[in-house]
């Protein structure tokens, strides 16, 4: 049949078509397959950023000042949920507003993003359900305390630091974002997590500050009380360890709230008489005066370069020691005239005035110190009395630390230690001497002059009874529009404690107090209040052993004839005093090692989340811990310290429960 040949033509055409299909399929799938697969992957999966927790900021004793915690954001695909009524119930328990519960359980909706953020523990019921999708959100929690918050700073909603240490140390605190591959559907919406793992987020570094939360609170409270009581405009308190340069407290207060950051670091002031001891030290060092050298103090009124200088404590003549003790303006102006302007400038420059100290903090000010060629004829006397110069409270406290520690100007610091997320130490502050500004001998002499200033002179308000405090008051008129205002003063006191073996340098500055404006009547009592509270507080990082032994020795000395052998008594006393070791928050591994060394093996706090309280308590007891209950009913939601923390046997674990 000839027509069949036509049928064969049709067959042949179809056969050729089939061959073309196979060739084209091979081209798309085998030759170009890799490229198409890459495109498929690109459109099927999206890299979702997993936020990394910021590193914690801890105080010197390891108390968290700023901490990140993980929260979850919930998204619900109502159509995928098996039991919508149960979901509604669980959401109600979680505290989701009824409007949102209605939306989340509405089968007509495809995707509902709940507005709130929840603790993973609380939301665990919900997140276990099918059709519920979670997203990690990180929340930054701050310790209370206005001044501490200002030092620590803030992080904005977009995880960008705003101010304070959060800003200054951002590169360290910021973690490394992780990524998660998530499957996406055609609308670009997240469909599900893909099982394919991306990159895990890396937590930021942990920063341990030198600040003590306790001292900070004490300083802040005392300052606030004082400012209120004196009707002052504000004030600053700085507490510094003179042996290490570590700042222990940086408190500031302004009644009108008109400041940001930490004025103790960023707002310079004219220090007034508190500069006098440094010139005395320079005179002694250059041999141009002796402590007992008398100078004519003109009965309290003296005219120099057309300007009248007055003394509050008027005398015909005074020794250098008394000039410091009674803060004689006439005396110090006359004494300091023995120094050439260049020498006088170098004294101040060497103390670090006019230059930022280098504390890692945004907006630290350097203050103002004019070069001698900019000086007027009145400048040497003005500078001697602490005018025509502006210093920050931290600069001044650092300079006093040099007197307290035997003459070394240290670099102040606010960061003690930086640890990486694994607990490895990345940075540890080491005492850094900028320069020697006076000999140890002269420092001792100045110290004893300053003891006198507290015990008999202007700084009497700072005295503490059994402990000696050394210090100097300052009262400076406030400059307004190029003139010194008639009745506005800055009252300040810088002291150290205890006077002979100083552990703290305390600077208190009160701005524009009304009423008693002399430093001796305003700032010095604040110092006493701070120190009293610090001694009373258990955790104020004082070397209590040194204090206590001294106190006991003094008591023994007062006991008189019965205490023949003071050395022996000291030994006995020392044995009685429990060694108070400041507990540094060591890295977990290091701490575990330290505890093991003490003979009791550390053990991990078991995870009791979700257990009924009775069971949780039993579990903790079995693990060898003592338990403190936070509430009487419900399921355990957390422990403090957290599950997994290494603690010595018998340690107290606080158990928190939900209602």
């Amino acid at each position: 049949m000839p027509r069949l040949t036509r049928s064969q033509v049709v067959q042949g055409a179809l056969g050729a078509f089939a061959a073309l299909l196979v060739i084209r399929a091979a081209q798309v799938q085998l030759w170009e397959g890799r490229a198409w697969a890459a495109r498929a992957h690109k459109q099927h999966y999206g890299a979702k950023a997993i936020p990394a927790p910021r590193g914690a900021l801890l105080d010197a004793r390891g108390v968290p000042l700023a901490q990140s915690r993980e929260l979850v954001k919930l998204s619900i695909a109502p159509q995928e949920v098996r039991d919508r009524r149960l979901l509604g119930k669980s959401l109600r328990k979680l505290g989701v507003p009824p409007v949102w519960i209605a939306r989340a359980t509405d089968a007509k909706r495809k995707w509902v993003v709940l507005p709130g953020r929840y603790l993973p523990v609380d939301a665990s019921d919900v997140t276990a359900m099918r059709g519920v999708y979670t997203e990690v959100a990180i929340d930054r929690v701050y310790a209370h305390g206005e001044a501490m918050r200002r030092v620590v700073g803030r992080v904005g909603a977009d995880d960008q630091p705003i101010d304070g240490l959060e800003l200054a140390l951002d590169s360290l605190l910021r973690g490394q974002e992780g990524t998660l591959l998530v499957a996406r559907d055609a609308r670009g919406r997240r469909a599900s997590s893909s099982g394919e793992s991306g990159r895990a987020p890396v937590e930021g570094h942990q920063v341990v500050l030198t600040l003590s939360r306790e001292l900070q609170d004490i300083a802040e409270r005392a300052l606030r009380d004082a400012v209120h009581r004196m009707g002052a405009a504000g004030g600053d308190v700085v507490i510094l360890d003179p042996h290490t340069g570590e700042l222990r407290a940086l408190a500031s207060h302004r009644t009108d709230g008109s400041f940001s950051g930490v004025p103790a670091l960023s707002v310079p002031f004219e220090p007034g008489s508190t500069l006098k001891p440094f010139f005395a030290a320079a005179l002694l060092a250059t041999g141009r005066a002796t402590p007992d050298e008398r100078i004519d103090t003109e009965n309290g009124v003296y005219t120099l370069e057309g300007r009248t200088i007055t003394d509050v404590h008027a005398e015909a003549s005074m020794t250098l020691t008394d000039v410091i003790r009674y803060s004689s303006n006439i005396g110090i102006a006359k004494f300091t005239s023995r120094l050439a302007p260049r020498e006088q400038y170098e004294v101040l420059r060497d103390l670090g005035f006019g230059t930022p100290t280098g504390v890692p903090f945004p907006s630290e000010a350097g203050g103002t110190l004019m070069m001698p060629d900019e000086w007027t004829r009145m400048s040497p006397a003005s500078l001697a009395m602490g005018y025509e110069i502006a210093v920050t409270p931290v600069q001044l406290a650092t300079a006093y630390a040099a007197i307290a520690n035997g003459g070394e100007l240290l670099e102040p610091t606010i960061v003690r230690e930086i640890r990486d997320p694994d607990g490895g130490i990345r940075f540890r502050h080491e005492r850094r001497v900028v320069r020697r500004v006076m000999s140890a001998e002269i420092a001792g002499t100045i110290r004893s002059m300053l003891v006198g200033a507290v015990e008999e002179g202007t700084g009497g308000g700072a005295g503490l009874g059994s402990f000696s405090v050394a210090g100097k008051t300052g009262t400076a008129r406030v400059a307004r529009g190029g003139r010194y205002a008639a009745s506005e003063y800055t009252a300040s006191f810088v002291g150290f404690f205890p006077a002979d073996e100083p552990q703290y340098v305390v600077l208190v500055k009160i701005d524009r107090p009304t009423g008693a404006y002399y430093g001796g009547q305003t700032a010095a009592p604040v110092t006493r209040a701070v120190l009293e509270a610090a001694i009373a507080a258990r955790d104020a990082a004082l070397d209590r052993r040194a204090l206590a032994s001294r106190e006991s020795l003094e008591a023994l000395a007062r006991a008189g004839p019965h205490a023949e052998d003071l050395g022996e008594a000291a030994r006995v006393v020392e044995e009685q005093i429990p060694r108070h070791v400041v507990d540094l928050p060591l890295a977990r591994t290091a701490r575990a090692g330290a505890l093991r060394a003490e003979g009791k093996s550390p053990r991990a706090v078991p995870n009791v989340r979700g257990m009924q309280l009775r069971e949780a308590v039993r579990t903790l007891h079995r693990a060898g811990f003592r338990v403190q209950l936070g509430a009487a009913t419900g399921a355990a939601s957390a422990t403090w310290p957290n599950a997994g923390a290494m603690l010595r046997e018998g340690s107290l674990v606080r158990l928190v429960s939900d209602r």
Binding site: R3, L4, R6, S7, V9, V10, Q11, L14, G15, F17, A18, L20, L21, V22, R24, A25, A26, V28, Q29, L30, E32, G33, R34, A35, W36, A37, R39, A40, H41, Q43, H44, Q79, E80, A107, K110, A183, D185, A186, R187, A191
Partner: protein, 395 residues
């Protein structure tokens, strides 16, 4: 002997080896098709608020009904279709007219931009029936006209007029690819029936401007065609479909991503379980899957053409050829579209694509082919066949 034989006489259709092989190939294709349909429709079914097997169950019901239709068609003498040709054509034209009438929106709703389905309790697609009508009717008329086929006016023109009416009706739906399918099927049957090659050339030259004007008028068909000619400048929608299909097929590579592991059907591919179901085969079963698919339909074609050569009459021969081409060509065109060999058009893959009209038609076609490949026997006694086949079957 005769009296005894007559007492127990009955007749039956005895299937040839080709017919049995065709049934086997069809069964394999249907089974593979249902498996693929589930994977390609499950996610969308869930997204639409149904159970994942929503489309599978419906297709399965269609397949069971298809088996019945197949069995019936296999037992009906294929020669009967010759007498049913005109009624079939008339019914097709009537249904297609109902589709495009302006006041029949209630039973012929517009879905995805065109009116292709009649909803009469069951949803039917009249153009699937029309495909059968074109083949049956063309084969009938070719045989009837005999030598007159060699003349243009009396031979070819009637075909062009009637099928032209069908084409016009489906273009108005609009469904340009169906119109082209009609024309091509008619052309194949005519070609095999012995129409002059010269007439085909004239036909082609005439068709181009008409087709071109239609494309310009039917905006949406134009989109599809131009997107193939110049993908870079293509309108976003048509280009998107082709790209998504290539992503699906290409990412399958040699062995595929695995059954149920494909992701393109979750919303990236348009119509993943009908117009683009072969994309899913390419993605989940890889190059090997597509080769098996092409091989399956090629085998179907080879068997169909063998059946055509052994047909009892010339009508049945043309019918077998046309019906085989209907299934195989549609399948090839569908695969050609999803791998970017052809412009993006809406063509179904027989036995695979969701759509019971098409499924039933495919079963019916297979049934007719099986009948053509069978011999009508007289059975003597319980099992023994009379070696002489019935006279009327040999006519």
């Amino acid at each position: 002997m005769g009296a005894v034989a007559i007492a127990h006489e009955r007749t039956r259709w005895r299937m040839s080896v080709e017919a049995r092989a065709l049934v086997l190939v069809t069964a394999v294709l249907v089974a593979f098709g249902l498996v693929v349909l589930y994977s390609s429709s499950a996610v969308l079914a869930i997204q639409e608020g149904h159970s994942s097997a929503h489309y599978l169950v419906r297709q399965l019901i269609g397949a069971l009904a298809g088996c019945v239709i197949f069995a019936v068609a296999a037992k009906i003498d294929a020669e009967k279709w010759r007498t049913w040709a005109w009624p079939l054509m008339g019914l097709s034209i009537l249904l297609l007219v109902v589709l495009i009438l302006p006041f029949t929106g209630a039973i012929a709703p517009r879905l995805n931009g065109s009116r292709r389905w009649l909803t009469l309790g069951l949803t039917v697609q009249p153009s699937e029936l029309a495909k059968l009508a074109v083949v049956v009717w063309t084969a009938m008329l070719v045989v009837k006209k005999g030598d007159k086929m060699r003349r243009l006016t009396k031979g070819l023109l009637p075909f062009l007029l009637v099928v032209g009416v069908l084409d016009l009706l489906v273009i108005l739906e609009p469904d340009l690819s169906m119109a082209m399918t009609f024309t091509v099927l008619m052309g194949i049957v005519l070609f095999a029936g012995g129409v002059r090659i010269g007439h085909f050339v004239v036909l082609g030259v005439l068709a181009i401007p008409i087709l071109w004007r239609e494309m310009e008028r039917v905006q949406y068909a134009l989109l599809r065609l131009t997107s193939f000619l110049d993908p870079g400048a293509a309108p976003a929608e048509a280009h998107y479909q082709l790209r998504q299909s290539l992503i699906a097929v290409g990412s399958g590579r040699l062995f595929g991503v695995g059954y149920g592991e494909g992701r393109q059907q979750t919303g990236f591919l348009p119509y993943p379980f009908n117009d683009f179901i072969a994309s899913n085969v390419g993605e989940e079963w890889g190059f090997l899957g597509l080769v098996v698919l092409v091989a399956g339909f090629t085998l179907y074609g080879v068997l169909g053409f063998r059946i055509a050569t052994m047909a009892r009459t010339k009508f049945q021969q043309l019918l077998a050829l046309g019906l085989t081409a209907t299934t195989v060509l549609t399948a090839y065109l569908h695969i050609g579209v999803v791998i970017g060999l052809l412009p993006t058009t809406g063509l179904t893959l027989p036995f695979f694509s969701y759509g019971r009209s098409n499924l039933l038609l495919s079963f019916l076609i297979t049934g007719i082919l099986v009948n053509i490949a069978s011999r009508h026997e007289r059975v003597v006694g319980a099992t023994a066949s009379d070696p002489v086949t019935l006279a009327h079957a040999r006519a």
